[in-house]
């Protein structure tokens, strides 16, 4: 066979076995700082907190062990029970409403809307603000004497009543309102992205099959967005569990402690109440709750990858 090229192939710049080994170790090397830091700053600290929860620490950490005493106190603490109940109400409603609004707005925005970019930005901007910033505004708006109720009264509807902020039974719902306001735009963005990622031919197929638009969304598109729902739920529940600024800014847990949440409970007991052991116990309980959510997520994450 004719060989037209006589120049020998340029061998790779000679590599030593040492460099080859490097290539094998590099990925691990790159990851190792994060691994170490994660182990210390996440797991180490969690373990530290776990230890603390078995001590009678008050003002500052100290290691006099008292067994399960702090957990007993916690479970007997009305405020903690209220905080947990509130988290269920708040978390459940917050996630549900965010999803609902997010999906709806995303679907509406996906209808080839003019000015989509502007509307999207309006929906998204609350995410950019911190609650330290907007807490006061919300406090006003929701305050019966100053805000919405007053406004409607001034418009002549004096029977209108909107006193959730100051009503022990309803205060937790005002948290939902403000939290939904802040996060639903982000959920909208997630879903919009999901919708954009759906193969349009599936929608075409459904049209040909004779399905109406709502039917297509209900039967085909929403089920297809399952992974997005999952991501959104995870992000939202993480927000719900961590929400602290929001409660501090809006109700500080009040009236009474009717709108308290675990994060706030933990913070105030650890730092302002001089009940560090109790605070640590509540933190550990919170983490246990988070695990209950995260483990199934990871499970499906890893399983899903195998299927893909």
């Amino acid at each position: 066979m004719p060989v037209t090229h006589t120049n020998t192939p340029a061998p790779l710049a000679s590599t030593t076995p040492w460099q080859d080994k490097m290539q094998v170790w590099l990925p691990k090397l790159i990851l190792s700082p994060t691994i170490v830091v994660t182990l210390i700053c996440v797991y180490g600290f969690v373990i530290w907190t776990g230890l603390l929860s078995f001590t009678k620490s008050r003002f500052l950490p100290q290691f006099d062990f008292v067994g399960w005493r702090q957990y007993e106190r916690l479970l007997n603490n009305d405020r903690w029970i209220t905080a947990c109940e509130n988290l269920l109400i708040f978390g459940g409603l917050f996630i549900a409403i965010c999803l609902l609004i997010g999906v709806l707005l995303a679907i509406f925005l996906d209808q080839k809307i003019q000015q989509e970019g502007m509307i999207r930005t309006i929906y998204l901007y609350p995410m950019a603000l911190s609650f330290i910033v907007t807490g006061t505004a919300w406090k006003w708006i929701l305050n019966p004497g100053l805000g919405l109720e007053n406004l409607v009264h001034q418009m002549g509807f004096t029977d209108f009543k909107f006193d959730w902020l100051v009503n022990s039974d309803m205060a937790v719902y005002t948290l939902v309102i403000a939290a939904v306001w802040q996060s639903s735009g982000f959920v909208m963005a997630l879903f919009l992205a999901g919708l954009r990622g759906i193969d349009s031919s599936i929608i075409n197929a459904a049209q040909i099959d004779g399905a109406s638009k709502p039917r297509i969304y209900w039967s085909i598109i929403l089920p297809c967005l399952r992974p997005v729902f999952f991501s959104a739920i995870i992000i939202l529940s993480h927000l719900a569990i961590k929400s602290f600024d929001l409660v501090t800014a809006l109700t500080s847990g009040g009236p009474g402690y009717s709108s308290d949440l675990p994060a706030l409970f933990m913070y105030s007991h650890s730092f302002t109440r001089g009940q560090m052991g109790l605070g640590a116990a509540s933190a550990i309980m919170m983490l246990a709750g988070i695990l209950a959510i995260l483990v199934p997520y990871l499970y499906s994450e890893l399983r899903g990858k195998r299927n893909a």
Binding site: F59, L60, P144, G254, T272, G274
Partner: protein
């Protein structure tokens, strides 16, 4: 040397007062590093302080008051100020009720800045006049007046719905009902019998009754908004510490004319005190220690005491000062302070951390605020609960 001071005085008058301190320190050749963390009556500041201490980087001085001073001292973080105290003769110029709080194990570890009287009632005389009511001096009169105000269409009692404000209100009622001795037994010594006792139940009942004279939107309201309601005549009166005065003055109102300050109903001659103070943290550096001592000294100089307390509405901790620049409320306050110090009617405010540990204080807050805001718990149960949580938190 350098002083780093952690405090939560950030609003206009307060900030200016601290600025004076800074200036005075700088005149003595020290530099001032300001670490201000406002919010929640120092909650954030406490968090910061704890983390800083844990990281081995404690500030020179921090705004710590009441029982917390003992806690910090017990953990051996605070510096010994006995030398300055002796040189400056604090024992002579400051009443022992106050210095006791500043001492741990009979050594000075903190410097008092001012004394607040908490059991004040602030009233808008114009509103009272219009409603034909008389400014109350005891609880019976209070309710009579409140009814009249209510009938006249004003909110009788301006109240902010935050646990510490509710506790402030309760504390005033409890002081009247229990009397100074039982007050002290209940809230300082945590005598279970008193905590669960009949008088406590009565105090709780009246406390709850007062809620009927506040407006519905009180929840979460800041105290100064409540004060503003009195200023604008929306409400008739407010039970609040003497810092409320600043709000009236800022609105251009004159004491005795546009507003009056009287002791909370039935607590004439009694004085619930709230002393702001700076605790001094141990320093390694010699220069810093010198500066720290100078800071302690400066805080208790009459010059600073005057400027600061004029700004803040409180009274100086020194009882030997010229009070000519102070207004009537302050003068009244000072008189009562001096008198009650000997009569035993000078009691620490538990609502402001003077009486007990933050753990017990917090536990009591929870019980009180829950009782105040919820309709399905009785006064008796609350009293029992109060005793339980106090015992648990001890």
């Amino acid at each position: 040397g350098e002083v780093e001071v952690l405090h939560w005085w950030t609003s206009g008058g307060e900030a200016k007062s601290v600025a004076v301190l800074k200036q005075m320190m700088e005149q003595q050749g020290h530099s001032w590093k300001d670490f201000a963390v406002a919010g929640g009556g120092g909650e954030s500041a406490m968090t910061v302080l704890k983390t800083r201490v844990v990281s081995g980087n404690a500030p020179t001085a921090a705004q710590i008051k009441g029982h917390d001073i003992q806690e910090w001292a017990e953990l051996d973080y605070l510096a010994n100020l006995d030398e300055v105290a002796k040189k400056e003769g604090w024992e002579q110029s400051v009443p022992s009720v106050v210095t006791d709080i500043m001492k741990y194990d009979s050594h000075y570890v903190a410097v008092p800045v001012n004394v607040h009287r908490v059991n004040w009632l602030w009233a808008n005389p114009a509103v009272f006049e219009k409603a034909g009511a008389k400014i109350p001096t005891n609880l019976d009169e209070f309710f009579v007046a409140a009814d009249k105000l209510k009938a006249a269409g004003v909110i009788p009692l301006a109240q902010g719905g935050q646990p510490w404000q509710e506790a402030t209100l309760f504390e005033a009622v409890a002081l009247e009902i229990l009397g100074s001795a039982d007050y002290r037994k209940a809230f300082v010594d945590h005598d279970m019998a008193v905590l669960k006792g009949k008088k406590m139940v009565e105090a709780l009942t009246i406390f709850k009754k007062m809620k009927g004279y506040t407006d519905q939107a009180a929840s979460g309201r800041d105290w100064n908004i409540a004060t503003n309601m009195v200023i604008t005549g929306q409400a008739g009166m407010q039970i609040m510490g003497d810092w409320a005065k600043g709000e009236f003055i800022a609105a251009g109102k004159k004491p005795g004319v546009d507003f009056v300050c009287v002791p909370a109903p039935g607590t004439q001659g009694q004085f619930t005190f709230n002393v702001d103070s700076f605790a001094m943290f141990k320093q390694k550096d010699k220069g810093a220690m010198a500066a720290q001592n100078d800071l302690a000294k400066t805080i208790l100089t009459p010059e600073f005491q005057e400027v600061f307390n004029l700004n803040k509405g409180s009274i100086p901790v020194r009882t030997d000062m010229d009070l000519s620049k102070f207004d009537q409320c302050a003068l009244d306050s000072m008189d009562t302070f001096k008198a009650s110090a000997t009569s035993g009617d000078l009691v620490p405010s538990f609502a402001h951390g003077m009486a007990t540990t933050s753990a017990i204080q917090g536990a009591m807050y929870d019980v009180l605020t829950n009782y105040y805001n919820s309709d399905n718990i009785s006064a008796q149960d609350t009293a029992n609960l109060l005793a339980d949580v106090v015992e648990d938190a001890m």
